[in-house]
């Protein structure tokens, strides 16, 4: 197969790279106004009008080649690979710059130009270019000696055709380019000679590129550690740095750390001056965003508004989502009944109705809640509000051993821990990032919701406390609260005992407020819903089938099965002694085992158990089945409100999610932290559940 051309999209965070990626690919991918939304590179194939196909890669936003966080390191790693293996270089770079902030955007751009890759500079947001930021962009193209500079707007589609034409010309006539590069004065070059020679031999780079790269290493020797190189190369580079630094006089040494920035910005300012760019003054005039922030990040009104927004979100999730949830519930059971009417009696029908439909139905039902939460989160991110919440919450989060940037992961955690854990990559301090990952699974995710809904709906009476607080809603809030409070307390404890490295800075850009593009928001939400259904659906499908087998066999001589004597029933009875102090019987025991892979499976498991146990046709109502379940020995109810609460508390804490475990392993590079997480959560779940059930019995609850 012929290799198709490769184009990389690079630029600072918040400059609209992902929106441009979406515009060109039509692929529904996350666009956001929150730094670090693209935490991995995304790839898609794009075809131009003439039929030329090329592959487009979207990278996380970065301010510099010197990476501070994991998402930035992804970019820096890729670029160093391009340097060392020129064959892997993209055929072109689309560098996206916020036109109203051109000076800072050019910093990373000029670092990239040194690779001599054909570069197209897109001046994004040209539709909202402020008069005082105007400059001569044709002159800028000459000064940088790059392929093209195009005024662009992802919002109004300005410049899209121009960009496509430039790309198609480039693919037709590949050209070798030499971009402009920063020049270093001779005195400094003489001092850096030992290092320059080594850089030349390690990276096979020439001229200004090798000089500027050497300068970067001298300014920031730690940068070497972050590059994927073999130890021998790292050692000779470090030696070169030491030799060169020794030859620099003492006055100069103090200036070294920021020397690249000083020289580079000096050069950028020169270029901008020749493009008749007015020298930037701090604008005294209040911008619209500042006026909005007078209220939204006000020292005490701001946090109140944030709490109000959170309250509104959760309130609407529980009230609005109940309508589609009831609808889905009745759809699933009538579908199950129809299938059992149509199909002939037999194993296949049992598998379909009691196994698969009951299992899948248990998960589809809480899709509305997930979609709603995702919708609100996306709106908060796309407007730019999320960064403000991060800014306001930093002090509190830090007191609890976390980081301002832990706010977004924790809020995502109410939907699902996994996107939350992935988004911790923007936290540029390892200790706070690790703590955020470790406590995230304690936040009650949407997979716990069906457990809470089932237990509360079945066992907690619909009465009112003090005549106005619904008891059912109150118990639900307590469960969410329990997980959240424990997460913060444990974060504080972990922060006390962990001795991982920590970065005490909190440097974050607050982007201007933007009106979210509704079409893009809806696409993102639907995509996430689809992803959730497919991912969770796969696990549930497999477990449902295995479980159906375990509860349906062995059959006795007349072809019937006593569920207690089935394979699953036997397993449940084996573990019953361990879980009895928590109030659980063997049926819950089976559910605990199956839901080890994913919490929401508990509902489908119980549903399958009761469906098999039921001799009649069609589907049983799980609530009624559990309420009417009598212990044959005592003649009393098998399940009581106290057992229901004990079970919910267990699910607040238990580490029952294989997918989370796998993600924690890959994000922390090893088994240590996922195992630690699993152990502490399981102990916590058993301990808390034990206390609830035993204390509850002593003080006389049933």
């Amino acid at each position: 197969m012929k290799n198709i051309p490769k184009v990389a999209i690079l630029g600072n965070p918040n400059c609209g790279k992902t929106a441009i990626f979406n515009l060109l690919t039509g692929l529904n991918q996350k666009v956001s106004n929150y730094p670090g939304i693209t935490v991995e590179k995304k790839v898609a194939n794009v075809s131009l009008e003439k039929g030329t196909l090329f592959s487009l890669e979207d990278y996380p936003g970065t301010y510099s080649l010197i990476s501070q966080s994991i998402d930035e390191k992804i970019v820096s790693d890729n670029i160093y690979t391009w340097i060392r293996e020129p064959d892997s270089k993209p055929d072109a770079i689309i560098y996206v710059a916020d036109v109203n902030n051109i000076r800072r955007n050019l910093y990373f751009c000029t670092q990239l130009l040194e690779l001599d890759i054909p570069t197209i500079l897109l001046l994004n947001m040209s539709d909202i270019l402020i008069d005082e930021n105007k400059f001569d962009y044709i002159k800028l193209k000459e000064e940088l000696n790059i392929l093209n500079v195009i005024p662009f707007s992802a919002a109004t589609h300005l410049g899209v055709n121009a960009l496509k034409n430039v790309l198609s010309d480039l693919f037709d006539n590949p050209t070798h380019v030499i971009n402009s590069k920063m020049k270093i004065n001779n005195n400094l070059l003489t001092n850096m000679q030992p290092l320059i020679k080594i850089v030349e031999s390690v990276f096979h780079v020439k001229d200004d590129f090798k000089n500027n790269m050497s300068l970067r290493f001298i300014c920031n020797p730690k940068h070497i550690k972050n590059i994927s190189l073999n130890e021998a190369d790292k050692n000779i580079l470090n030696k070169g740095i030491d030799d060169s630094v020794d030859s620099v006089n003492d006055d100069m040494k103090i200036l070294l750390p920021t020397l690249e920035s000083d020289l580079r910005y000096g050069w950028i300012d020169q270029i901008l001056m020749s493009c008749s760019f007015k020298k930037i003054k701090v604008i005294e005039r209040k911008t619209k965003s500042e006026k909005i922030d007078d209220v939204l990040t006000h020292p005490w009104i701001g946090p109140l508004i944030f709490v109000g927004i959170l309250y509104f979100i959760f309130q609407s999730i529980f009230s609005w989502a109940s309508i589609p949830m009831d609808f889905i519930d009745s759809m699933v059971s009538s579908f199950g009944n129809q299938v059992s009417n149509i199909m002939p009696d037999g194993l296949l029908r049992d598998l379909l109705v009691d196994g698969i439909i009951a299992g899948i139905g248990g998960i589809v039902i809480f899709l509305p809640q997930i979609l709603l939460l995702m919708f609100f989160m996306t709106i908060l991110e796309d407007t730019g509000y999320m960064t403000r919440a991060t800014f306001m919450m930093d002090k509190f989060m830090r007191t609890m051993g976390l980081h301002g940037k832990s706010v977004l992961p924790i809020m995502s955690g109410y939907a699902c821990a996994i996107p939350g854990i992935i988004s911790t990559r923007t936290i540029d301090s390892w200790k706070e990032r690790l703590i955020t990952i470790l406590i995230l699974p304690l936040i009650s995710c949407s997979a716990r919701l069906p457990v809470y809904v089932l237990m509360i709906g079945t066992f907690i009476p619909e009465t009112y406390l003090f005549n106005f607080i619904g008891l059912q809603g109150f118990v639900m809030v307590v469960m969410y609260f329990l997980g959240t409070i424990t997460a913060f307390i444990l974060a504080k404890i972990f922060s006390h005992f962990l001795s991982e490295s920590s970065n005490p800075s909190f440097i974050m850009e607050l982007p201007d407020y933007r009106v979210p593009i509704i079409k893009s928001v809806i696409r993102q939400v639907l995509n996430k819903g689809k992803l959730f259904l497919v991912d969770a659906g796969k696990i549930i499908m497999i477990i449902s089938i295995i479980l159906w087998f375990l509860v349906s066999f062995p059959k006795d001589s007349s072809g019937n099965v006593d569920i207690k004597e089935s394979y699953a029933g036997n397993i449940g009875q084996v573990i019953e002694p361990i879980i009895k102090p928590l109030g659980f019987d063997w049926k819950i025991g089976i559910a605990l085992i199956t839901s080890f892979a994913a919490r929401e499976v508990v509902v489908s498991t119980l549903s399958t158990i009761y469906n098999i146990d039921d001799d009649g046709e069609g589907m049983v109502n799980l609530k009624e089945a559990m309420l009417n379940d009598m212990n044959p020995e005592t003649g009393q109810n098998t399940y009581t409100p106290l057992i229901a609460i004990s079970l919910m508390v267990f699910y607040v804490y238990a580490a029952q999610c294989m997918a989370t475990f796998a993600v924690v392993k890959s994000e922390t590079n090893g088994w240590k932290w996922p195992i630690f997480m699993m152990v502490y959560m399981t102990l916590l779940a058993y301990g808390m559940s034990f206390i609830v059930f035993q204390v509850g019995r002593i003080i006389g609850f049933v």
Binding site: Y63, S64, T258, T297, M392, F506, I507, E509, L510
Partner: protein, 77 residues
């Protein structure tokens, strides 16, 4: 000469020096926070929380301990 954290809200200062003990001095320099640049203090969060500044044309957050290591001459408007 004042440090950034001691500035009043909406005061503008010209950076005269950055203490070499500042942890993220390289990242800040890459983002344009360096000698000679003008900075406006937009707001402080309560109880010693982070501050928001305006530099060039954009807004940046900094924690108190970093802000205290950036020295400026106040520009009277």
């Amino acid at each position: 000469m004042k440090n950034l954290y001691n500035m009043r809200q909406n005061q503008v200062g010209n950076v005269t020096g950055i203490d070499s003990r500042l942890n993220s001095k390289i990242r800040l320099a890459e983002m344009g926070v360096m000698q000679g640049v003008d900075i406006r203090l937009i707001k402080k969060t309560p109880m010693g929380g982070p501050v928001e500044i305006k530099i060039n044309n954009y807004y940046l957050t900094l924690r108190k301990e970093d802000a205290m290591l950036i020295y400026l001459d106040i520009l009277e408007s």
